[in-house]
């Protein structure tokens, strides 16, 4: 199910949002999996550090990916919108196997890249098999409707989330990161509620969702991935709501997935629990009642 390598193949590449703070040294399961997916020692990976305000973020990931065993790493240090029209950088994107977007500020990332040749190239290259990963802000920026900011808390409140356009690598899902660590259920619920037929993916730190071309999501990492399915969701208060007021929502489906779990995003069903060593410890605590 790992998308085909040859260019020109119609199989789209993986989209891999990561919840931030991924392990980079001792046990970098998420990054190692990404490098392996891209071809391991043959992989050419582009790093986009634009979200970060630190100057050495690109170099840091260059060295991390090097240690993990990626064949070649190119840093694409977009600092202004005109950089995103540069032929030199677009040529790099045309020959990479994977792209990695770092954390930082998703608004900075999308303000610089949206509607540029680079943003178009990212979508086209992904459609043709290039895998795109993003951590923290880089994960948020992947969805069409991007969470630009908001407040923490479990109860959705009107105005607690700000949405802005993202890259559109993932259409029907809103991504949120540092999920369990920063108490972001309320803002993701508010975001999902404002997008008809939408759904939300909340990623814990050191945890990634590997979304394949068949729209199967596989969890990799030490935390969990929370799926909020808003397909049958409705505003329970049935009235307009003032800013800051609690929002009533009914019919939300919630799934908590852990390492090895595979979930079909199109049909909203669990595909498998995974066959890894950890999953052998798993047992069914509860059976389907229906």
């Amino acid at each position: 199910m790992h998308g085909g390598r040859p260019h020109g193949n119609a199989t789209r590449g993986f989209v891999i949002p990561i919840g931030g703070a991924e392990n980079r040294v001792q046990n970098p399961v998420v990054l190692r999996r990404f490098v392996k997916l891209c071809g391991g020692p043959r992989a050419h990976i582009a790093v986009i550090p634009t979200a970060s305000s630190l100057d050495d973020t690109g170099q840091m990931y260059e060295s991390v990916f090097g240690q993990i065993g990626a064949g070649r790493i190119s840093i694409l240090p977009f600092k202004k919108r005109s950089d995103c029209e540069s032929k030199q950088y677009l040529d790099v994107l045309n020959c990479v196997d994977g792209v990695f977007m770092t954390g930082g500020d998703q608004v900075r990332l999308t303000e610089l890249l949206n509607d540029t040749s680079v943003a178009r190239s990212l979508r086209e290259r992904n459609a043709h098999g290039v895998h795109i990963a993003g951590t923290s802000a880089g994960a948020s920026a992947m969805s069409s409707a991007m969470i630009a900011g908001g407040r923490s808390g479990a109860t959705p409140r009107a105005g607690m989330v700000e949405l802005a356009p993202g890259f559109g690598l993932i259409d029907r899902f809103v991504i949120d990161q540092h999920f369990s660590q920063r108490d972001r259920l309320g803002r993701l619920l508010t975001a999902v509620a404002s997008i008809p037929f939408g759904a939300g993916i909340g990623l814990d730190e050191d945890t990634a969702a590997f979304i394949g071309p068949d729209n199967t999501l596989e969890v990799v990492g030490s935390g969990s991935v929370t799926i909020i399915d808003g397909a049958v969701l409705r505003n329970a208060s049935g009235a307009s709501i003032d800013h800051g007021q609690a929002v009533g929502l009914t019919g939300v489906q919630l799934h908590i997935l852990v390492d090895g779990n595979k979930y079909d995003l199109a049909n909203h069903t669990l595909v498998s629990l995974g066959l890894g060593a950890k999953s052998r410890l798993t047992h069914d605590a509860t059976t389907l009642l229906t």
């Binding site: 923490s152 808390g153 479990a154 109860t155 959705p156 999920f179 369990s180 660590q181 108490d183 972001r184 259920l185 309320g186 619920l189 909340g202 814990d204 030490s222 935390g223 969990s224 929370t226 909020i228 329970a236 208060s237 049935g238 007021q245 609690a246 929002v247 009533g248 929502l249 009914t250 019919g251 939300v252 489906q253 919630l254 799934h255 908590i256 997935l257 852990v258 390492d259 779990n261 979930y263 669990l270 629990l273 950890k278 410890l281 798993t282 047992h283 069914d284 605590a285 509860t286 389907l288 009642l289 229906t290």
Partner: protein, 274 residues
């Protein structure tokens, strides 16, 4: 459904879970006082030792200011006091239209009350029609299982929640409070995996769940109530050998209700108040 005191024989009294502390709960206290009969009501406020926790006195004052006919404050020092209560105390409970259990520390409340003669009397009187409310930690104590502690975070992990026995007024219910402010989804979900098919009720501060004898829950107050329904859970797995590992749960149903909405606990159905 906001009927005054239950008049029909055998209708159980309301069970009222109040999130958070008093100053924000004026509307809720008023509602409970009215439910118990207002000026004619006899309400018993039950607490642990007032030296440890003075919330009993504050609720007493609130009920008096609302003109409640008679307010008794009964403090129990420990379990022994609950087992050998004076006849005057038992008499006050026998005649009360409503009881409010207050407290800040759910572990202390569970140690003091759960399984005692006083807890049994409260449960019997509730079955006969007396209304029972719990505020703050007292709210958590109302069902059979009580969450007495745990860590924050939205992801359920095996070691994230501590459970203890509650009053047992309702079986298939887990109640947690301070829900919005203290990031308690994970520990609620974990409690639910230990109590299959129970419904989880997370109550924000300044908000209450009024659960009628028909098992319909009504939201009162300014915050939200998060209802987590595990009855359609397709899968839940605990890594037996990894206490801090996250736990997967597939097929949870979530409703977030605000004032004006109701939830039918038997039918697992949320709707607008009609």
């Amino acid at each position: 459904m906001n009927g005054s005191t239950a008049s029909t024989v055998d209708a159980r009294g309301f069970i009222v879970a109040i999130g958070g502390v008093l100053p924000r709960n004026g509307e809720i206290v008023q509602r409970f006082a009215d439910l118990c009969g207002g000026k004619c009501a006899r309400i018993a406020v039950i607490s642990v030792s007032p030296e440890i926790d003075d919330s009993g006195a504050r609720y007493e004052r609130a009920f008096r200011e609302l003109g409640v006919g008679r307010v008794d404050v009964i403090a129990f020092e420990n379990r022994a006091a609950c087992e050998s209560a004076e006849s005057a105390t038992r008499d006050a409970l026998a005649r009360a239209h409503g009881v409010l259990l207050v407290g800040q520390d759910p572990a202390l409340l569970s140690q003091t009350f759960s399984g005692t003669a006083i807890a049994q009397q409260i449960a019997c009187r509730n079955a006969e029609g007396m209304h029972v409310a719990g505020a703050c930690a007292g709210a958590s104590l109302l069902p059979r299982q009580t969450i007495i502690g745990g860590a924050g975070g939205t992801t359920p992990r095996a070691d994230i929640v501590k459970l203890a026995p509650g009053l047992g007024l309702m079986d298939q219910l887990v109640i947690d409070q301070h829900f919005r402010h203290q990031d308690r989804l994970g520990r609620m979900l974990m409690a639910l995996t230990y109590t299959p098919h129970a419904i989880g009720i997370g109550i924000d501060e300044g908000t209450a769940a009024f659960i009628g004898p028909d098992d319909v829950l009504e939201v009162v107050g300014g915050g939200g109530i998060t209802i987590i329904d595990t009855s359609r859970l397709q899968h839940s797995a605990i890594h037996a050998e990894r206490k801090h590992a996250p736990v997967s749960m597939i097929g949870l149903h979530l409703d977030i209700l605000v004032e004006g909405s109701v939830y039918d606990l038997s039918a697992h159905l949320a709707s607008m108040h009609s």
